[in-house]
């Protein structure tokens, strides 16, 4: 007879096969892919235009007999991935909730749940199989998006990538995967716990609203940092060094604002990816060691949050909760 890990793997494989043929899943992934590619593609095209303009300017100077070559503008190709990160941060999380909800809800309303539970499967086979299946799905989706956007910035932007950029992209992809698994597992747990299927989805979406939209927005609104368009220091045209001197007098305010932001898992995802990809100025062109030393706490918190979410889903997805009457 099979052991629990075998049963979990059987359930995970069924999940993969079912999702591969699921139209809703195909639409969601296609939408995410198209939105991300458009964002990265437009940024890459703009990048290429600027490079071409610079090269044309240099050629014209040489043709005019100039011997001085103007300094090349500083372009950072990985910053082109910003749009993709932001789509994953908002839409990716939402889609992860929808898939997490669907994987439990479909079994409940179809009635296949009874067939599974009448089998000699272990206590954890069902939740581990479901979460395992979705973890594989998200790994595949993130790899696909990463490959597509990397190809886009090279092919459309004609951007030169260094080997270290590959490592930065890979780290960002792992962070994105953890983030998506967190949301799918959360939705599995809330759906399993809710006697009404719709309640599980609504609870997960309310949590998504709070952590993905509301808290980060409050943090951004309170942020006087001049990198935010319309930010206080940007409006007053105050330089970064002066900004830091001013903020030193408002340490309490900034601590509250920062505390609010980092209470959101989304901000952990954003800060980590923005740092490793060099989107945030402070970390641009810095070594991976530098970024890791500064942000390891965020990485640990994100990993712990993903693990806690998985543990919540496993704990919530019991025979007792699954067999509640569907209403």
């Amino acid at each position: 007879m099979g052991n629990p890990s075998t049963h979990a793997w059987v359930i995970a494989r069924k999940e993969l096969l079912d999702l591969r043929r699921d139209r809703l899943f195909a639409v969601l992934v296609a939408f995410l892919m198209i939105a991300t590619l458009i964002s990265v593609g437009v940024a890459a095209a703009s990048f290429r235009t600027q490079i071409d303009a610079y090269n044309l300017y240099v050629q014209q100077l040489i043709a005019a007999g100039s011997t001085t070559k103007p300094a090349a503008p500083t372009f950072f190709p990985l910053q082109l991935l910003r749009g993709g990160v932001e789509y994953l941060e908002i839409l990716g999380a939402l889609f992860a909730i929808v898939l997490g909800y669907g994987t439990i809800a479909k079994e409940k309303y179809r009635g296949t749940l009874q067939l599974i539970l009448s089998r000699p499967i272990g206590r954890f086979a069902m939740p581990l199989g479901k979460i395992g299946g979705l973890a594989i799905v998200w790994a595949a989706v993130v790899l696909l998006l990463t490959a597509a956007t990397t190809i886009a910035i090279v092919a459309i932007g004609n951007a030169p990538l260094q080997p270290i950029d590959g490592a930065r992209i890979l780290i960002a992809a792992i962070v994105a995967w953890l983030y998506l698994v967190f949301w799918s597992a959360l939705a599995i747990g809330t759906t399993a716990l809710s006697p009404r299927l719709s309640t599980g989805l609504i609870v997960a979406i309310v949590i998504w609203l709070a952590f993905v939209l509301i808290i980060p927005q409050i943090g951004d609104t309170m942020d006087p940092d001049n990198q935010v368009p319309g930010g206080l220091f940007a409006t007053l045209q105050i330089q970064k060094t002066d900004e830091l001197k001013v903020l030193a007098n408002f340490a309490g305010f900034d601590a509250i604002r920062n505390g609010l932001e980092i209470s959101s898992i989304t901000k952990h995802f954003e800060r980590l990816t923005f740092a490793f990809l060099g989107i945030k100025d402070k970390y641009n062109q810095q070594t991976l060691d530098f970024v890791w030393t500064d942000l390891w706490g965020y990485a640990i918190t994100l990993a712990v949050a993903a693990f806690a979410s998985v543990a919540f889903a496993v704990g919530a997805t019991t025979r007792r909760t699954l067999q509640r009457k569907i209403s």
Partner: protein, 245 residues
């Protein structure tokens, strides 16, 4: 060696204040086709759900294939096959993929050969590569029987198996039930509210009324115990009309 496939003693299940199954005491010998009759809401599905370990009883005890449903539910699940009312499958998957999934959950490692054998037994060969999304109720029911017997269970539970089937589907299913019992020796526990089904397939019957077993006998004895009645239907209505004790 146990001679009882199913035994229950004062088996009770309540949902809050509502008593769904009231002190059911029952013995179904190995090799029987037992039909549990009753109106909708009489507690038939609750009885099956408790015996298949999908629900825990509130009180009392039950053994299926010689194993306690509360003491060792996983062993009970290994010994039983189960067809719920209105069985559904994964419509995106083919018959073979659906059956392979359930066979592997039942512990069969390389089940494809067994699946083909079962489809042959059910005269359903040639459909294994079709997806279930396009199947009729009768075809789904046959796949439902297939998933229930893949692992050669000793006891088969069928919850309203003929519900929603057309006359041809009912006849085919009835023949299948008889064959599974006579050729493969499976004990069958069948819930139904259709008296005609019981007459044609069952060897013993029970009548459940408001959660209580008000009659339990072999089909022959049930018919002879009511000499004034010429059909099971009449017996059923007579028992049903008596006030519950």
């Amino acid at each position: 060696m146990t001679t009882s496939a199913i035994t229950t003693d004062q088996l009770t299940k309540s949902y809050g204040p509502k008593l769904a199954l009231d002190a059911l005491t029952l013995d179904v010998p190995v090799g029987e086709v037992f039909g549990l009759l009753g109106h909708n809401g009489a507690g038939k599905t609750t009885a099956v759900n408790v015996l298949t370990t999908l629900l825990e009883p509130t009180r009392g005890s039950a053994e299926v294939a010689g194993v306690s449903v509360t003491g060792d539910p996983r062993s009970v699940r290994r010994a039983i096959g189960y067809l719920p009312e209105n069985v559904q499958f994964y419509d995106n998957l083919t018959v073979m993929e659906n059956l392979r999934f359930f066979a592997q959950l039942s512990g069969l490692r390389r089940p494809d050969g067994r699946i083909r054998d079962v489809l042959r037994i059910l005269d359903f060969e040639g459909h294994d590569r079709q997806r279930l999304g396009t199947f009729s109720k009768g075809m789904r029911q046959r796949v439902g029987i297939a998933q229930a017997i893949l692992h050669s269970p000793s006891v088969l539970f069928l919850d309203e198996p003929t519900s929603g089937l057309d006359p041809e589907g009912v006849r085919t299913l009835r023949e299948t039930i008889v064959r599974l019992n006579s050729e493969f020796g499976m004990t069958i526990f069948m819930n139904t509210h259709l008296r005609s089904e019981v007459t044609k397939t069952c060897t013993s019957i029970g009548i459940l009324k408001a959660g209580r077993l008000v009659h339990h006998d072999t089909l022959e004895r049930a018919l002879s115990a009511f000499p004034g009645e010429d059909s099971l239907e009449a017996i059923y209505f007579q028992v049903e009309s008596e006030p519950a004790s």
